[in-house]
Every structure is written in structure tokens, then in C-alpha cells.
């Protein structure tokens, strides 16, 4: 499903096809692919898609940026593109210009909190921060006595405990201990930690949906090649029905994620309807990552379990993305609470709001 209808996605897909081919990356044990890919993405202005021109970015629309993230998911792109885009978006909310180079957002979990001390420095601990280890700068959302602020800090000022998620990408613990920000400004009304988590969640949803599209694609292709019991395994009804379910999970993930992206791109504020869209996307895409990824592996058999095969680049990354910006369990509890507080007779009006 690589047809693209906008120039941002078209540009990105060319770069991904040239420099982020999953098989080439999988064969490259030294990570030599990373620098050229990041350089090409940066030269095209893609990491700062959501930063207006006057703040150092390329000023793409939210919709184009979301479509770009979906494309990145289709290639299982393993550089901090989504993270830098989110960081740039967060900084732009407070009119803070974005620097060049890799960034990530702190915190990356709804349960962690960074606070502003009396002297204006930032402190706190954030777990599961994607690509903190390789980021040059952090975009931070912090809580102070005066309310919420957005800050840019040098990554070198934080303490990083390095870790890897199940997709083998960096997912690190960042500890800030009275860190002096480069810039700090109050967040505008309506930009809260919840807003940031919902934006991050929708970004991850689009990436998961993209990964599932590719998993469906390579699974169908493999089933049409692999012969067992003297026929292509695609001719076995059990395999066909598994792949039909994978298509359903892939379609559901894409529908949920693109619906949420469309809702946010056209919203004036993060109201209950947007909350439903974004939380649902993260919940449903995470469920699809488990169910759909499981089928992709089942179809591939043992070969898909090898480190040489590209399937794990999609399947494990999709599973890992479930954890960022609030897991599906977290959002399900929060969405359930919202639904309960609105009351039984307000459930349908919420669901049918769009």
C-alpha cells in the first residue's frame, strides 16, 4: 500500500526505499546504515515536519506528518524520526525554535512526571524514553507551581540508563537532577501531559498500522512461494483464514490510526471526542500488533523466527511500540473511566460523534 498522495510521504518513501531497505539493514551488523539515512531525512526537512518555518522547521501540516509516520511504520524505520517530530511539535506549541539533530520527548509515559524546582531547574525520572541515548536534545514537558511549561534541554545534562525495548531499539531511563534548561516557556492552554501522550500514542498507532501492512504483504508473498505437502501453503484453507484475519487486524489498525490522525489534524481542542479517537487508536493498534504479528509469524514458520529474516523488524517493533506513551491497558482504564463518568446514556452519542 505504498501509494502516496502527498509530497512529504513521496519524499520519505524514496529515502526509505534507498536507505532503509529492511533486508539491507538486517544484513548490516554494524549499523552503518543509520548515519546516511538520518542525514537524508534531515536534508529533506522531515524530522522537523511539524515545526513552522519561522521556528526552524519545514512547516508541514499535521495530516502530512501523520501520513509520514505511517510510511515510516511500513519500513519499520529505526531512527528517531517520530520522536524528533514529536519533540519539534511540543517545542513549537510554546514557540520554542527547534535545533537540528536527533531529539526525543521527556517524559514518554503518562505515569512519569518532570517538575520545575523553585530555582527554575528541572528534576524527575522518565522511563522508557525512546532513543534518549542517541538524542542530542530533549523536549521536556514539566509541571511547576505556575502550571505546565515546555523546555528544551541538552541531552548531556541528563543521566541516561541505557536499555533496549523488545524491538532492539533504545528505550532508556532519563533522570534529570536540577537541570538548567536551554529555553523554557509556559505551555499554552490545552497542552498538557495527556495531550502529549495522545499525540505520541497516535504516532505509535500509525507506525504499528504501517508495520502490519508490511507484515500482511510479506506474509501473503511468502505463502504464495512456500511449498509444503506438494502445494503452495497459500492453498490451504487454514492458512487462508489466518491471513484473512491478519488482513482484518491490519485494516482495523489502519482505520483506527488514520481516523485518530484525521480527528486531531482537524480539531480545535483535545475534547472527549478526540480522546476517544486517540485512546482507541492506541488500544486497537496494540491489540492488532499482538494478534496480527502472531499470525505473520505462524505463516512464516521457523524461517520467520530467525534473526536473518526481516519479519522481526516489523513484528517486534510493533510490539515494542505498544509500550510507548501509555500502553493499551493504561488507555483502556482511562477511556473506561471517561465513559463511566459520562454515564451509560452518553456512550452512544460519544461513539457516534463523528
Amino acid at each position: 500500500m505504498a501509494e502516496s498522495d502527498n509530497i512529504v510521504v513521496e519524499t520519505a518513501e524514496k529515502i526509505f526505499a534507498d536507505l532503509a531497505d529492511p533486508q539491507t539493514i538486517n544484513n548490516d551488523k554494524k549499523g552503518a546504515w543509520q548515519a546516511p539515512l538520518w542525514q537524508a531525512l534531515s536534508e529533506a526537512g522531515l524530522p522537523l515536519s511539524w515545526v513552522p518555518d519561522d521556528l526552524g522547521g519545514s512547516g508541514a501540516s499535521l495530516a502530512d506528518g501523520f501520513a509520514l509516520l505511517n510510511a515510516a511504520g511500513r519500513f519499520a524505520v529505526a531512527v528517531p524520526l517520530a520522536e524528533t517530530m514529536l519533540a519539534g511539535w511540543l517545542l513549537a506549541q510554546a514557540r520554542i525554535p527547534s535545533p537540528q539533530g536527533e531529539m526525543t520527548v521527556v517524559p514518554s509515559s503518562p505515569k512519569d512526571r518532570i517538575t520545575i524546582d523553585a530555582d527554575g531547574t528541572l528534576s524527575g525520572r522518565a522511563r522508557g524514553v525512546p532513543f534518549a541515548k542517541t538524542a542530542k536534545q530533549f523536549a521536556v514537558l514539566a509541571h511547576g507551581k505556575e502550571g505546565i511549561s515546555i523546555a528544551l534541554i541538552d541531552a548531556s545534562k541528563g543521566r541516561i540508563e541505557s536499555g533496549l525495548n523488545v524491538g532492539y531499539d533504545h528505550s532508556d531511563i532519563v533522570t534529570l537532577d536540577k537541570v538548567q534548561p536551554v529555553t523554557i516557556k509556559p505551555a499554552p492552554d490545552g497542552v498538557t501531559q495527556t495531550t502529549l501522550m495522545l499525540m505520541g500514542g497516535v504516532a505509535r498507532s500509525l507506525q504499528i498500522a504501517g508495520a502490519l501492512e508490511s507484515m500482511l504483504d510479506i506474509s501473503v508473498r511468502y505463502s504464495n512461494e512456500r511449498v509444503a505437502f506438494e502445494k503452495k501453503i497459500s492453498k490451504f484453507q487454514a492458512v487462508q483464514h489466518n491471513l484473512a484475519r491478519l488482513a482484518g487486524e491490519s485494516a482495523a489498525a489502519l482505520a483506527a490510526a488514520t481516523s485518530a490522525a484525521d480527528a486531531i489534524a482537524n480539531a480545535t481542542s483535545f475534547n472527549d471526542e478526540i480522546y476517544l479517537e486517540a485512546a482507541s487508536a492506541k488500544i486497537r493498534c496494540a491489540e492488532a500488533a499482538e494478534k496480527g504479528g502472531g499470525i505473520a509469524h505462524q505463516v512464516h514458520g521457523a524461517i520467520g523466527f530467525t534473526i536473518e529474516h526481516i519479519l522481526h523488524r516489523y513484528s517486534l517493533r510493533a510490539l515494542a511500540w505498544r509500550d510507548d506513551f501509555g500502553s493499551e491497558s493504561y488507555w483502556a482504564v482511562e477511556l473506561g473511566k471517561l465513559v463511566a463518568s459520562r454515564g451509560a446514556d452518553e456512550l452512544w452519542p460519544l461513539v457516534a460523534s463523528r
Binding site: 485494516a251 481516523s259 485512546a279 473511566k337
Partner: protein, 386 residues
């Protein structure tokens, strides 16, 4: 790349929201007047002719059809809004539902002009009820094994044989059925079936009710004995019904009725747990709502494709596969979550009564209108596997 399974986000236009308000107000009036009880999906008498006529009078039947046949020339998205609001309110739609969704569009496409002029306006007025004659005792999912014969005679056909599992045949005025006009050929086993418009309540048709495990009598056996059908009641090509079946499926399989059949138990669960649910209930409800929301967005997206003149058969099959499996599991998940609802919850009895009915309803949901197995076969074909 694999077949493009896109479900583009459709935003319902503003006029849909106005229409939604009108439908809700109408349903609230009918509930207040005692026409039906939204909390009782299992009421004995689901056929309410006067309700059907009122819906027709509002212009909500045959909404997308040409005005000269009594339609409103409104969009599929507007029809979608009416359909989902009726379904969620548990409104008694039995009398008009099949005609509005399926039979009318078939007549529009294949019936001769004078039949269209005679019948379609009556559907729009909510006066007549349709049934679908597909399954037979030895032909269910395998549609093309149908044996009920239509033998050519002077001015028409004589019908002999039996249709079965025919919903609403006992109240229907018409049936759209497929009968065998020729044997299948060696090259094409689907050849030889013809679609007919059947006038019910006529000599040579006997309708025998069949009890269901829910305690209801919705479906029937319909026995034809030398029943005469005139030539102008042939719909489309003689022996060519198989070419006409596919476009119908997109209408039949993607609507809100394909995931909202047991929705009422979710509403009652939310009522039972109250405004401050424990973590377990909150998570359970949150997941179910996220799944529901996603299916609805997919289903609305298919309505948008229909509006754009496409035939999204594979997409519709995906919606029905995921939707019916979900609505089948829903009462069981709600039962899990309701296990710890306080004894004092004011709607506890309502919830238990509804669960009892929904659990009995559940098994049919993945069978009627195309089984899960058939749907997955269609999806697999769309993926290029068959």
C-alpha cells in the same frame, strides 16, 4: 504490494448531524408513547406495522433511491445515520429492514420499470415487508447447490421446492429468491440459477415457522408447490443470478447492524458499574469501546465507498467478519465484567435479563448473511490467495 485495504477516515457531513437529531427525537417520542421498549430487545412481537409506516412517512425508507420511486435521493451516509440510531435504540425495524437495505436496491437494478413503479414507493411508505429466499435444506453457504426448481410454463414459471431459514417469511409480502432454471454446466457450477420476485400469501406457498434457541420464531421453512410466477417477475438474467450476487453483498455486510446486534448489554454494563468503576471494569469497558469505535469507523468508511460508487466487497467482508465475531463475544465479555457488579445496582435485573437473551442470540451472528468461513474465503480471494 497486497490489495489496498484502505479505510479512509470519513467525516459525516453536517446535514447528517441534523438528521441524527431528528431521528433521536422521533425515537424518543415513540418510546414515550409506548410503541416499543428500548430495554427489551427480546420482545415477543417485533413486527410493528404502524411504526414502519411512521418511519416511511418521515422519508427514512429508500432514502438513497430516485424520487420518482418514492426515494429521497439522499446519501448513503445519511442512511447510515438513520440505521445506526434505530439499531442502538432497539427499534422494531423487522418489517422494513430487509426491503430498505437489500431488496429495494436489487429491484432498482433488475426489475422492469412497471414493477419498480408499483413496489418501490410502497417500500418507501413502510407498507410492505420483504424476505430473502436463499438457503435450502441442502444448500446454505453453498448457495449454488440450490435445487428449488422454476419450470417454464405459459407466461411464467412454476416453482417447486423448499427454502429454509427464511427470516420474516411469515409476515413478508414479497420475497426475492433464487431458483434453478437450468442445471449447472461442466464449466460453471454457478450457472443455472435465476433471481425472482415472489409475491407471498399466494396459492402454492406454505410458510412453516421454525422455533429458535432464543425462544423466538423469526425464521421459517417456505414450501413451494406449483406456485406460479409471471415472466415479468424475473430479476435480471435468466440462469445468471451468480453475476448479480456480489454487489448485494457490500450493502448487506458492512452496515452498523453487523456489530451492534448485542450493543445494549454494553450500555447496561456501563450503567451497572456507575460513575466510579474499579480498574478491572474500567479496563474492560475501555477496550470494548475502543474496539466498537474502530469497527464503526471502518463501517462508516465503507458507507463512504458505497456513496462514491465503489463495490467494496472485500472491505465489507472484513467489517462483517470482525464485527460479528465482536458482537458475538460481547455478551460473554460483559458477563465477565458484570460478575462483580454490586448487588444493589439499580439495573441489575435488566442487565441479567438482557445477558440471558444476548448469550442465546450470539451463536447466530457469525452464521446469518454469510458465515465467518465464507467471509474469510472472500477476503483470502481479495488477497490473491485463491
Amino acid at each position: 504490494m497486497t490489495a489496498a485495504l484502505r479505510f479512509d477516515p470519513i467525516r459525516l457531513p453536517e446535514k447528517c448531524e441534523q438528521l441524527r437529531k431528528e431521528v433521536r427525537a422521533f425515537l424518543a417520542e415513540e418510546i414515550a408513547a409506548g410503541t416499543f421498549d428500548p430495554h427489551k430487545p427480546n420482545r415477543e412481537d417485533t413486527d410493528v406495522p404502524e411504526f414502519s409506516r411512521k418511519v416511511g412517512a418521515r422519508g427514512w425508507l429508500g432514502m438513497t433511491w430516485p424520487k420518482k420511486y418514492g426515494g429521497q435521493e439522499r446519501s448513503f451516509l445519511e442512511r447510515y445515520v438513520v440505521t445506526e440510531e434505530m439499531r442502538v435504540a432497539n427499534a422494531p425495524t423487522r418489517r422494513f429492514f430487509v426491503a430498505d437495505r437489500q431488496s429495494g436496491p436489487v429491484l432498482l437494478k433488475y426489475a422492469p420499470e412497471h414493477i419498480k413503479m408499483e413496489i418501490l414507493p410502497r417500500i418507501c411508505r413502510g407498507e410492505i415487508c420483504f424476505a430473502i429466499g436463499m438457503s435450502e435444506p441442502n444448500s446454505g453457504s453453498d448457495l449454488f447447490a440450490a435445487k428449488t426448481r422454476a419450470t417454464k410454463t405459459d407466461g411464467g414459471y412454476l416453482i417447486n421446492g423448499t427454502k429454509i431459514w427464511t427470516s420474516s417469511a411469515h409476515i413478508a409480502d414479497y420475497m426475492i429468491a433464487i431458483f434453478r432454471t437450468s442445471p449447472p454446466t461442466k464449466e460453471n457450477r454457478r450457472h443455472g440459477l435465476t433471481q425472482f420476485l415472489v409475491k407471498m400469501k399466494q396459492p402454492g406457498i406454505k410458510v412453516n415457522p421454525i422455533g429458535q434457541i432464543t425462544g423466538q420464531y423469526e425464521f421459517n421453512e417456505v414450501v413451494f408447490t406449483d406456485h406460479f410466477i409471471p415472466d415479468d417477475h424475473v430479476l435480471g438474467e435468466v440462469d445468471g443470478a451468480w453475476k448479480q450476487a456480489t454487489s448485494e453483498l457490500a450493502y448487506e455486510r458492512s452496515g452498523p447492524e453487523r456489530f451492534l446486534e448485542t450493543y445494549y448489554v454494553l450500555t447496561e454494563l456501563v450503567r451497572a458499574v456507575g460513575p466510579n468503576p474499579d480498574t478491572r471494569s474500567a479496563e474492560g469497558i475501555g477496550r470494548l469501546v475502543a474496539q466498537l469505535h474502530t469497527m464503526r469507523r471502518m463501517s462508516v468508511s465503507v458507507a463512504g465507498m458505497l456513496q462514491a460508487g465503489k463495490e467494496p466487497v472485500v472491505e465489507a467482508s472484513i467489517v462483517k467478519d470482525i464485527g460479528t465475531v465482536w458482537e458475538q463475544q460481547l455478551p460473554h465479555r460483559v458477563r465477565d465484567l458484570a460478575a462483580f457488579v454490586e448487588e444493589t445496582a439499580t439495573n441489575r435485573e435488566t442487565l441479567e435479563r438482557q445477558l440471558d437473551f444476548a448469550i442465546k442470540t450470539a451463536p447466530k451472528l457469525t452464521i446469518q448473511g454469510g458465515t465467518t468461513e465464507v467471509l474469510r474465503g472472500i477476503i483470502a480471494r481479495g488477497l490473491g490467495l485463491r
